[in-house]
Amino acid sequence: MKKFAIFLSVAGVMALMAWGFYQAMYVAPTESTMGDIQRIFYYHVPNAILCYLFFTINFVASFFVLIWHRNRPTMALKADAWALSGAEVGVVFCSVVLVTGPIWGRPVWGIWWTWDARLTSTLVLWLIYVSYLLIRRFAAGGGMQAIAAVLAVFGAVDMPINYLANRIWRTQHPSPVFFGGEDSGIKDPHMLAAFGWNVLAWAAWGIAVLCFRVYVQRRQQILDQSEAEAALNNF
């Protein structure tokens, strides 16, 4: 039964992804000035929005790690699994943003990369979470989770800066499509639909991967604990 539910949800996610692809590539009209390259927008922006979601999951989970790690270690361990998974999936989404951006920028701007506030803060965001994943590998022992959680707080500080970057400063990066003033928003209903479907599809994919990752990490933690107990019993 459980396997069937997993199979069903995976199939649902795949179908949603395929539908999103169809909407973005075939249904949405070609943009008048940029041409077909604009379709990368249906991947770039949903991934950017969702990378905030997963880094927020990482931040909330890290917050609970910090609260619980002294008094309720079992709960802290659970929260830590969520924090790790959130950071890993978030880094994947952020990487997609950083790859699709230059692919769009080269034909439209004529350059791959520029050091404006939006691009720089996105790169910094990515670097911080990569260093978060690195410290989890380097720092050993039980203190590692609290230490990683502390670093996650620093990463979370960069998120609002990144969100506000092209709202505060004039950037080469296009001004915000949503919540960016009177002109913002997608006017064409087909474009809006393609965008909405892709947000949904990528969210479903990301959450599915997140849940699998949390599950694997929990199994790993339980395995580590039983190994530690076995080692203690042998004494």
Partner: protein, 240 residues
């Protein structure tokens, strides 16, 4: 000593926070005065970086105004990392760090004193390095040079406060010398950008930043990150 350090701080008999900071600061400065490890290493290292860049680029007067701010900031950055690694590592000998954990007042005072001490060392290095730097690069600031006295300390504070924090964070990891720059550099990047751009504006006098936006940003960065570091330092200190 059976009570938790954090509980001791809340007791009325606990010493004032400032006097705790001063005690820790006096200890740190005395150690440094007797050994002079950090300052000597930093000074020589930063000097080498400045000479290396000067030789590698062989800049003309105009180019050196453009790149000097970056070279100065990066030289400070590399030099401080080598010293910051030692800031907590020297407390590991004879279990001093464990003893410090049991002192009253919690970690924030100890951390703040450490930051002040390191800020002092880096400032000394910059004060010595500055004139050398101006000579090697034939610099003559075209903007308001007195602003340097505001920008450089603000940038240094951003570097030292984060560096001290992450040095403590990476102290228990394997190869901590490698780990510190790996965590510190991404976090420090916004401050580095603000510092380099404002120093460059001062040196070239191009008036590209009339409202001092970058200096304000640097100040805001300092306030935010100092607050986070002070709030979270106890967690780092007590993490086992």
């Amino acid at each position: 000593m059976t009570t938790e350090p954090s509980n001791m701080a809340s007791q009325s008999s606990a010493p004032a926070w400032t006097s705790l900071v001063l005690t820790h600061l006096r200890k740190d400065l005395r150690i440094e005065w007797r050994s002079r490890d950090a300052i000597n290493a930093m000074l020589f290292f930063a000097l080498l970086v400045v000479v290396l860049f000067s030789l590698a680029f062989d800049p003309s007067a105009d180019t050196s105004r453009e790149i000097a701010s970056g070279v100065l900031c990066v030289a400070t950055l590399f030099a401080s990392v080598s010293a910051l690694n030692q800031a907590w590592a020297r407390e590991l000998r004879h279990q001093v760090l464990d003893a410090l954990r049991m002192t009253p007042g919690g970690g924030a005072a100890m951390f703040f004193a450490k930051v002040l001490a390191n800020f002092f060392y880096v400032t000394i290095v910059q004060a010595v390095l500055g004139p050398v730097f101006f000579i090697f690069y034939n610099l003559r600031p075209l903007g308001d040079a007195s602003l340097l006295l505001l920008v450089v300390p603000l940038g240094t504070w951003a570097l030292v406060v984060n560096g001290t924090f992450f040095a403590a964070l990476s102290i228990r990891s394997r190869n901590r010398e490698l780990l510190l720059p790996l965590i510190l550099f991404p976090i420090f990047l916004p401050a580095l950008l603000a510092m380099v751009l404002s120093v460059k504006t001062i040196l070239t006098g191009d008036g590209s930043d009339p409202s001092f936006l970058w200096i304000k940003m640097l100040g805001g960065y300092d306030i935010i990150f100092t607050t986070i570091c002070l709030l979270l330092f106890d967690v780092v200190l007590q993490a086992e």
